[in-house]
């Protein structure tokens, strides 16, 4: 019984251990970034670790909307990089970041189809063909919002019927909760086509899919803002990371991963 009591006390003592929720060590930098930045940011994280011995860069990649909510609920992030201005502004409104963030990259949408091309899609216009299985990101996700905008623009393009957007959306069989899930469904060959970012077609993905570019006038150029959080535990390293991302080598890394450089971004949206 004595042993039992001791065990019970140990159980009761457990909550004491839970006091501090994984407060990162001073040498840890926690970056919350949009899912579409996954590969590029991992590389930049390694680069920062290499130049700053003792520093560990941790990432949480998810839909920007989800990250914004997690940060609002007190998640221990130092840096927030969003795939659109909407969720950065949301974070700013809640007083979580100062200013509206700095634009560090741009991205554009493409259509992808499985390499086997089961629906025999020969161009963007075929996405409106009845019975084609299309997968897009949900409307709450930046990529989903851009997809709908692009489809609307294409409806006014020459060679596309005016009801193009409506037809394509009627073909949607799933609205995924983040853009990487769209990639997966096309890559697995379950969907006939999907709308994703150019940067999502990484080397490992491009083995499985074919890309159809969407011309500039009809494309939506996504602008990615980045900001250091007001309550960042490691504000110094957070600043290093933001600087690295905007530096020339950082921009090259982003480009190599299919993102467009920040240059020529809307001038009003830069630095607070």
């Amino acid at each position: 019984m004595n042993a039992f009591m001791r065990f019970a006390l140990a159980v009761l003592g457990l909550p004491l251990l839970a006091g501090r929720p994984e407060a990162p060590a001073p040498s840890t930098l926690t970056v919350y970034a949009a899912a579409s930045l996954t590969d590029a940011f991992r590389e930049l994280g390694h680069a920062l670790e290499a130049t700053h011995p003792g520093l560990t860069v941790q990432f949480n990649f998810a839909g920007s909307q989800q990250l914004a909510l997690q940060i609002e609920e007190g998640a221990p992030a130092d840096v927030f990089a969003s795939a659109d201005q909407r969720w950065m502004s949301y974070a700013a409104e809640k007083g979580l970041v100062a200013g509206e963030g700095a634009i560090f990259a741009r991205n554009r949408l493409v259509a992808i189809v499985p390499r086997t091309n089961p629906a025999r899609i020969g161009g963007l216009a075929d996405l409106g063909r009845r019975g084609t299985k299309i997968v897009v990101a949900a409307e709450a996700v930046p990529a989903g919002e851009y997809s709908r905008e692009t489809l609307e623009k294409l409806s006014a393009a020459p060679g596309f019927p005016p009801e193009y957007a409506r037809r394509v959306l009627a073909n949607v069989v799933s609205q995924e909760e983040n853009v990487k899930a769209v990639v997966a469904k096309v890559q697995l060959g379950e969907a006939d086509a999907g709308l994703v970012y150019r940067s999502d077609v990484t080397p490992s993905v491009s083995r499985y899919v074919r890309v159809f570019e969407i011309e500039d006038p009809y494309n939506v150029i996504a602008r990615y803002p980045i900001a250091v959080l007001k309550r960042a535990k490691n504000a110094e390293a957070a600043k290093w990371f933001v600087e690295l991302v905007s530096s020339a080598p950082g921009q090259q890394t982003l480009e190599r991963h299919g993102l467009l450089p920040a240059a020529a971004a809307a001038p009003a949206a830069t630095q607070p």
């Binding site: 019984m1 039992f4 009591m5 019970a8 159980v11 009761l12 839909g63 909307q65 989800q66 909510l69 086997t116 089961p118 299985k133 997968v135 949900a138 409307e139 709450a140 996700v141 949607v172 069989v173 799933s174 609205q175 995924e176 909760e177 899930a181 469904k185 697995l188 060959g189 379950e190 969907a191």
Partner: protein, 268 residues
Amino acid sequence: MALRALALVLGALLVLLLGLPLLSLLLRIPSGDLVARLRDPLILQALRLSLLTSFAATVIVATLGLPVAYLLATGEFRGKRVLEAFIDLPMVLPPTVAGVALLTAFGRTGLAGQALSALGITLPFTTLGVVVAQAFVAAPFFVGAARAGFAEVDRKYLDAAATLRAAPGYTFLRVLVPLAAPSLFAGAAMSWARALGEFGATITFAGNMPGVTQTMPLAVYLALQSDLDAAVALSVLLLLVSLTVLLSIRLTPSRLAALAARARRAPR
């Protein structure tokens, strides 16, 4: 005495752990909001789809699970332990993994998927796919409970039935199943609850499409990404529905158990 007090404290802690999150969910919702949300056709759609698919999954699991449970409870055969572990596997498998596994099996390019599509059956992105995903994760709960129920039935009733020259099928349906009914009900209830809450396998295998594959858990998750209040309201709704069904199923077997007990006493 000290032991008893300690047990009480431990028990209270568990109730707190389980109850507090649910209670705070109820407290967070603005009054009247729930009723307004209930009128939202999108939410009704998700709720209807959830109820439909989870009941369908339960029926499938119970129908296919009954013989397996019987076999496991009464038979001894080679590979029994392997079969047991195999059936329990979906319980420990992360649901997303279950979803990927289902895709590789029943997806368009999957092992069985190609044969299915030749028959004109498509599972990914369809309501049927949701049912399959739910049945996959819910099956172990029914088989486990049904098996325990069958094992508890006293052999002498089966022997008595055999002496009276009852056919094995008759004995199974008229003696064994009624005696194990409370366990079968409990198993079905657990399976149903698991199916209703299913998220990971569903979104991976069947995708997310309002009216087709967007069940309540998916709707809650999607709402959480844009509208926290809506997500809370949906969660409360789901909570109330599940609680009602679980309670009513709990109350039914106790009456059934009483009936079964009376039936058991009668022949003596």
